[in-house]
């Protein structure tokens, strides 16, 4: 069974009288444990594609299956459960919760699932990402790079089967970005599926497969 199956997927945004095809009849599959890079120009529909796979956006037509769950026909409860347990999503714009400290942001997916937060795992992740002394800060008090690392830690805290990473290295310097890339590769080596959106050719080349989209098409 495929980790992700995308069939004839289309997403149309109506902007006034104009239809914008953010994702235009895309089909592909991702096998379990695969690491796929998604590349393309700005505005080509990468984020929209990840949102559709993550069940955040509803497709205009076509179908998406993630880990055997059909996104289009599932109710909100099932989709939310899937996001909490199977999925990790590193958002392009972080989506940190401003009223929570970095630490609380990171453990939020576990709390939403009613699980007890694993302190050692948290410290391990924070240590690896170099934010262990920023855990008590609110997002507003963190730099862009630090916020990005908190977002990455949050996506990894629940050991996701499928990791969606939307430009996780966008705000980082080369050295830090290389480390993050190393982490993602390690996650993939443990058998997890990774979908990585990136502008960096180098990182795309490190992935097993590359999907290029432009104007919503492959």
């Amino acid at each position: 069974m495929n980790a992700v199956t995308v069939k004839n997927l289309t997403k149309v945004f109506r902007q006034g009288d104009e239809d914008i095809y953010a994702v235009d009849h895309i089909s592909f599959t991702v096998a379990p444990g695969e690491m796929v890079a998604i590349v393309g120009q700005s505005g080509s529909g990468k984020t929209t594609l990840l949102n559709l796979i993550g069940g955040i956006e509803h497709p205009t037509s076509g179908s998406v299956e993630v880990g055997g769950v059909d996104i289009c026909s599932s109710d909100d409860e099932t989709l939310s459960g899937m996001r909490r347990r199977k999925l990790g999503y590193i958002f392009q714009d972080f989506n940190l919760i401003p009223i929570l400290t970095a630490e609380e942001n990171i453990i939020m997916p576990l709390l939403l699932d009613g699980k007890k937060p694993d302190k050692t795992k948290l410290r391990e992740l924070a240590g690896f990402l170099g934010i262990e002394n920023r855990l008590k800060h609110l997002p507003g008090e963190l730099s862009g790079g630090q916020r990005q690392r908190v977002a990455i830690a949050r996506a990894l805290i629940n050991d996701p089967v499928i990791l969606l990473a939307d430009e996780p290295t966008g705000n980082l310097d080369k050295k830090a970005a290389d480390e993050i890339m190393e982490l993602l590769l390690a996650v993939n080596r443990r058998g997890n599926t990774v979908l990585l959106v990136t502008h960096e050719q180098r990182y795309a080349d490190l992935c097993g497969r590359k999907i290029e989209i432009s104007d919503g098409k492959i």
Binding site: S80, M82, P98, L112
Partner: protein, 665 residues
Amino acid sequence: MTYLLYMKRSFTRSPHRHAVLFAVLTCAFLLPLLISIYRDSNAWGTRQYLLARSAGETYHIGNAAEADVPYFEGIRGLSAPVYRDGTIYLHILSDEEWRNSESVTVFENEIRKRMEASGNEALLPTAYSYEYAHGISTDPSHLSGQRILLLVNMLVILLSVSVVRSAYQSHLKRFSSDVGTLRACGAGRRQISALFAAELAAVFLLAAACAVVISVVSLKALFTAFLEIRHDSLAWLIFHVEPMNILLHLAVFFVILGLSLGMTLHRYSREPARALLNDAENMPNVKRGRKPLRRRFTPAATLCGLWRSRTNRSLSSCLAVSVPVMAVFLLLFNILTVALQVTGAEEEWGVKVSRSFHGGEGFSAEDMAYVSALEGVEQARPVYEPDGYILLPESPEEVETPLRIRPYSGLGAAAQTLSKYEIAVSRKVERGVGDVLRLCRAEAYYDVNGGIKQPAPEDVTVLTVAALTDTKPSGWALDIYVSDELYADIIASEPATGIEIALTDPAMNAQVEAALRTHFAGAEYAVTNRQSGADFLREMSSGVYLLLGYVFAALFLFILLILYVRLCDYIEGNRPLIRTLHRLGASKRTLYRSYIRQDGISAAAAVTAPFLISLPLTALLCAWQKAPLHLDGGMVAVYAALSVLLLFTYWHPVHRSLKRVLRPL
């Protein structure tokens, strides 16, 4: 022209925002206006009452005949006598002299001389002070009532002003991006200010007009139906609107709103247009939470704990508004219920006829028999209020003291028993335990031609003060409370000075009163109808009850509106937070439950806290007033209905806003 276009657009695009602002303003204006009009009417009614009673004259000489008029002519400093319906009226010409008590005494002596000269013994003079005759009340209870009303009025203005200001500011906030748009399109600062000022003026004028019309019309109706009740053909409350007061109220609101608009526009003018355009998207500032985030049994409970510890400010501000208002209302309602029980009670001795007894005459056995036989009289009893006694002065330079003699046992809970020649006096008079007083019959002290004489030793009774009472001194005469034994001696030698009547049915009071007035027609008789006084008070309090209910209804509506707007704003403001949490895997149901739970906790507090605050206070009040604490079904039903309404107002905006926010996710 562009203003009109913009305004039209802004009204058509978000008409409900303007409607909400209009409703809040109307309610906010209405409340203080209601209280102000009631205060004006109270002052006006009292003024009319005093003017009607005094007829603007200093002296009223009752029981007069047309033939007595010439005797009162030509008194220097007094107006010519005017005769109307058995009374001669005179007034002091100079206001200065009228205000001066010494010159009033001089005039009084002159009038007494003229009365003696007329030979008509029935003449009954009454004097009115300058203030009384000019409708200026000096009654402390009326003045304190006016002061309390003024205070309440100012408090309500303060409350309304603060709410209006915050409502207007949140209204402006909604349109901050419009300011950005207008600025980006090249509109000048002045143009934008003029635009918002015009909008404010339009909404303000409409709301002010509505509030004035509603308050005047509804209060006029309430006064006509309930409050303008006449007692002895005079009302104490007469509907009256003081236009200056209304204008003053509106001016205060206008200035406050204008200032808040000015300040907001000033702030906008210093910010770049871009910041304003994004203003609506900014998350509310949240301070670092003090309490750590804790995991609860369910994710919804965990989130609810998070909201309560970090974003509860909106809900606490709702509580801060609704709890005191509800508590004060319940307290007032309870006070009034207790007061109604006390004033509305049936008088045990509903009617009384009394006689001032010249020459030791009182009511005879035939009088008693006549009264007992009247229709509607259940029981009649003689009353002895001997006033033919004085206290002898302690030294020749001092003067005698007039007395009122009462039985000590009549005080109810008498603290101690008195031996025959022991008495009690009020704590408030300048006598102490152990003082010796000399009691004497008046005719043994005064001689026939107005002088005084030394009373014979057998006419003097020596009394010792043995106890102090908590009673209030009654003014001109000293109250002494004597032993039952001595009282029996005193009244044995006195005729009854009054007859108190218990009615078979309280409704018979008018008929019995009329019968008594015709039978005891002389000027020395007076009939008091306590039952009609009690009926009047009861009717009056039911009017006040209704007025209070009305004012509260307006206040409640106002509070509900504020809660509604705040709660909608709260959920709308949390939209980004909700979206993010949904992305992280919080289901819509979990999110919905977490907010409803937070809301429910506040709603429960909003319903129970006022009850818990007002109940002990009412109990305390009842204990103090020695009235039984009673919770009748009506009261409980009113409270239950209000609670349901309050719960709904807490629940509905949150529910509706959540549905709206969660649907597109």
